[in-house]
Amino acid sequence: MSEFVIAISAIIGTFFIYHLAIRIHRTWRYSLTAPVLVATILIISVLIIFRIPYETYMVGGKWINELLGPAVVALAYPLYKYKDTLKQVAAPILAGTLLGGVVGITTGLLLAQWAGFESAIVYSLTPKSVTTPVAMAVTDTIGGVMPLAAIFVMIAGIGGVLMHHYVFRLFQVNHYLGRGVGMGSASHAIGTATSMEVSQLEGAVSTISMVISAVVVSIITPSLVQLMM
């Protein structure tokens, strides 16, 4: 019974805080106020203040997590809706995403190696740009630590959401195509979620980039790692 109460409170609490975060984002439109960031920080604050362990929160949180699967399936709808437009820009999406995959692996490897981290950590960091299950599988193949890989994936996702305004300004990316490719290649589904908040078309581009990136990274990482280490 009490488990049920905990679950319901966690779900309703998350829902409420998420909507509060959306309101905050509507009032102050900055990267820093992206709903996923604000909601995460608010919930972490609540957990710390009331000394609630993460496992307790997850009694309810796991039900939201369970819906992440169908949520990703739902991304097929914008893809279908914009399929004619997307077909015309398929080549630049593919080329940009391929470049992104290579840049992500090589810069991650080089920087972590140069900073002197042990190889298990370097390998865990390498596939950070792709969605969690794929990154964990790749990490396992090349000899990294799977939970660590999941954290780096999250940092790439949240960090991308946090920095995207500045990055796009710096690289003069202003078209929905470039923005979608950038978000999907660098920050997987968390980036796609933020793109969807801008427009379904940008989100659709981001979805394609995310999927291509997952395939590309899982195929080329093992050989790139062998080549560079």
């Binding site: 805080i17 998420y18 992206a34 709903p35 996923v36 909601a39 972490i44 957990l47 997850m58 949180g61 939201i64 819906l67 992440l68 699967g69 169908p70 949520a71 990703v72 399936v73 739902a74 991304l75 097929a76 893809l79 279908y80 437009t85 015309q88 630049p92 999406i93 080329a95 940009g96 995403t97 470049l99 992104g100 840049v103 992500g104 810069t107 991650g108 972590a112 900073a115 950590i121 950070k128 740009s129 969605t131 780096f152 999250m154 940092i155 996702g157 949240i158 960090g159 920095m163 990055v167 990316v173 202003n174 078209h175 978000m183 290649s185 660098a186 969807m196 908040e197 395939v215 899982s218």
Partner: protein
Amino acid sequence: MEKVGKMIVHIVLLYIIFQFGNWIQRTLHLFIPGSVIGMMVLFILLSTKLIRVSWIEEGANYIVANLAFFFIPVTVGIIDYYDLFLGKGALLILIVLVSTMLVMGGSGFFSQWLMRRKGWEHE
């Protein structure tokens, strides 16, 4: 109320397709997650008109617009790992951020440049 009922039916359908994607992944031992396979399955079903847009539209629109909500429990999980990034570990965050920036800027810039150069642009 009718709208909410419709939305629930749509989401249940999406969930069934997700489980089907999981089943394909397990049976064929694929490295691509079941949810992504489910996405491809739904795309094919929509394209071949085996599933009508009206069967999933409201639910899909709602979910897609609120995608960030479903990530919150995962991102909150970072709470268990904060001590990992004290000291030298903080450098790892910086490395991930720099690399992410280069991926985002590089891939975005390159695809946009290609599109404009080849005159693929259309608005």
